[in-house]
Structures are given as structure tokens and as C-alpha cells.
Symmetry: C2
Subunit: 193 residues, 2 copies
């Protein structure tokens, strides 16, 4: 029992490092957001925007996915969606690197828990189940809201156009939460004019 | 519909400010933890330590509580548990200030959502239901683990003794997650010798 608990706590101590992984988008005050606080914010998005999820989506499973979805970044770092014209994000090399990170990080846990959380992370990455599609939509729309609040944020840093935003972000948000994108795109648009 | 969604997004934009509320405990690297990333870490504690919860506890409700539990600090700031000998924490004045903050912050939401989240926050604060008792135990034990990882952390800043730790922290952890405290107290003890 103590060995099991020690493994659980070792994983949680390792997870602390996600608070040092920086993202491209800013928080209030202008500093870069880290992936730990981003994950919290996303889970809160799921809780508050539950009425935007299609029928059959389990908000509690979405929240669990969002709590875990960036843990691999402890080893890989974050790749901003708008960096290098959006090409680096989702490459095969990146996926292999993330799988190795998942082996190491979820491997710190007792096997039953590690397998369960790893499966949730893979479901999120695959972006096929209704829960994962909604979770991905939130993961894409939150940085848009952060950039709006900052008056442009990472859009300015990466010379993003409104067409880029529609392609790289809007499609995924619209797939999981269409009414949210309808609203947010109209709020975002003036920042590109 | 748009007005409702705009209110949900306004609440989420306001929640971003929790990432600027600093706590006494450090993260890896030594900087002070903020209450946003702390809330994420706690939700992950609930997910990973689910087998330590007494029968009947809903981990999904615990996670929801932990995502919300510190939002009032956007207005009030964090009061470290070891500051002023532990006296400032939980005072009547503090409770009144937090209730005013909850009025304002949950009041940003559409009424049905605001009422639901406010009720969850009040349940956490009352620390009576099994879900809240387990959530409180996690909220108390995570800073202990952060201080252990930092070689002392806020215990050094506030001249905390092991007896202080048992009184201010151990009792609440032991109430909600007794086996966790049995283990963690033996890991923490050498830092006080």
C-alpha cells in the first residue's frame, strides 16, 4: 500500500513541472501562460460551457481529459499553434516524442491508474470521440479569448491573419462547439482589421 | 443565447486573474505558486488519489469543487495557513469578505450556472459533506508535498514546527484521507529535525 501511494505522490510531484512549461498566449498582466494554469482554465471552461456540449458528451470525462492533456509537455515543451505557419504542430516527429513522454510520465503511476489516464490522453489526442472533440474545441478557443483580452497577444507575435485563425483554430472549435465559434469569431475579427 | 454565452465567457475571462494570485508555497524552480495552477494540481490530486477517498465520495464532484474553491481569492488574495500563527485563516472577517467576493464573481454567470457553482463552493467551505472533507484534505496536503519538494518552503518562511503542522494541516488531512496523512507525515517529519 505504501509503495502504491508513494508512486501516486511521485507522479503528482512530477506533474508540478507543468507549471514551468510556457505557452505563447499571455495571461492578465502580460506574462506568458504556463500549461498548468492553462489546464485549470480549460477544465473551468468545460464546467461553465457545459450547455454548449452536444448531447451525449460527459462533462466530467471532458474535465478529466483536460486536466491531463498537456502533461507530456513536461518533456516536450509546448509548440504554439501559430509557430512556423502551424506546420510544427501535429507532425509525426512531434507525435512520437509525445508518445515517449507519455510512456515515462504515466509510467510513474501504479499500472491500473497509469493505464486509465494514458487511455484518456490517447482519446483526447485522437480527437474522434464526442468527449475528445468537445475538449479539443475548448483547448483551441481559450487561447483566442486570452489573445482578445490582451489586445492581440500571440497573433501579433506570429503575424496571424484572420484566415489563419479560421483554418488553424476555427475549424476545430466549430467542430466541437459551433455556437461558441459563431460568437467568438465575431469578437475576434476586429483585431485583424 | 448570445447574451448568455457572453456572460459565460466574461466569467471565464475574469477567472484568468486567479493566475496572478500568489500563494506562500513554491513550485519547482522556487517561484511562488499561483492559485490557478494550484487548483489544477489539486484536481489532478483528486483524480490520482481517488482510491484514498472514503466510499461514497464522488471524485467528479470533488474535482469540480477544487476547480472553483479559490476563485474568491481574485478579490481577497490568499491567506497562508501558517501566517500569523494560523489565526488569520478562517476568521469571521475573512469569511464575510469571501462571501462578498463570491457574490460578485459567481454573479457574473447566468443565474442557473452561478447558483450551481456557488452552492458547490459553499459546500466546500462548510467542510461537512464527504466530498468536501476529501477535497479539503487534498487542499491541505498538496502544499505539504510542495514544501517537501522544495526542502522546507513556506515552513522556513513562517518558522513552522512539526506540532504546528500536525495542528493546522494534519488534522484536516487525516479527517479526509487518513492513510495519506500517515504516509506524508513520516516523509515531512525529518524537515523539522
Amino acid at each position: 500500500m505504501t509503495e502504491r501511494l508513494a508512486a501516486q505522490l511521485a507522479f503528482l510531484a512530477e506533474a508540478d513541472r507543468l507549471k514551468s512549461v510556457l505557452r505563447a498566449t499571455p495571461v492578465h498582466g502580460g506574462r506568458k501562460e504556463n500549461s498548468g494554469e492553462h489546464s485549470w482554465h480549460l477544465a473551468l471552461y468545460a464546467l461553465v460551457l457545459a450547455d454548449q456540449a452536444p448531447p451525449g458528451v460527459s462533462i466530467d470525462r471532458v474535465i478529466r481529459m483536460l486536466l491531463l492533456h498537456d502533461l507530456v509537455e513536461i518533456d516536450t515543451g509546448d509548440v504554439p499553434i501559430h509557430a512556423a505557419g502551424g506546420m510544427a504542430h501535429g507532425s509525426a516527429a512531434r507525435q512520437a516524442e509525445e508518445a515517449r513522454a507519455a510512456d515515462r510520465i504515466f509510467g510513474l503511476l501504479p499500472k491500473d491508474i497509469g493505464d486509465e489516464l494514458r487511455a484518456l490522453w490517447e482519446e483526447f489526442e485522437a480527437a474522434e470521440s464526442p468527449d475528445a472533440v468537445f475538449a479539443k474545441a475548448l483547448d483551441r478557443v481559450q487561447p483566442v479569448m486570452q489573445n482578445i483580452a490582451a489586445g492581440g497577444g500571440s497573433w501579433r507575435d506570429f503575424d496571424v491573419t484572420f484566415a489563419d485563425l479560421e483554418t488553424r483554430v476555427g475549424r476545430k472549435v466549430a467542430r466541437g462547439a459551433p455556437r461558441v465559434w459563431d460568437h467568438v469569431r465575431t469578437v475576434a475579427r476586429p483585431f485583424f482589421e
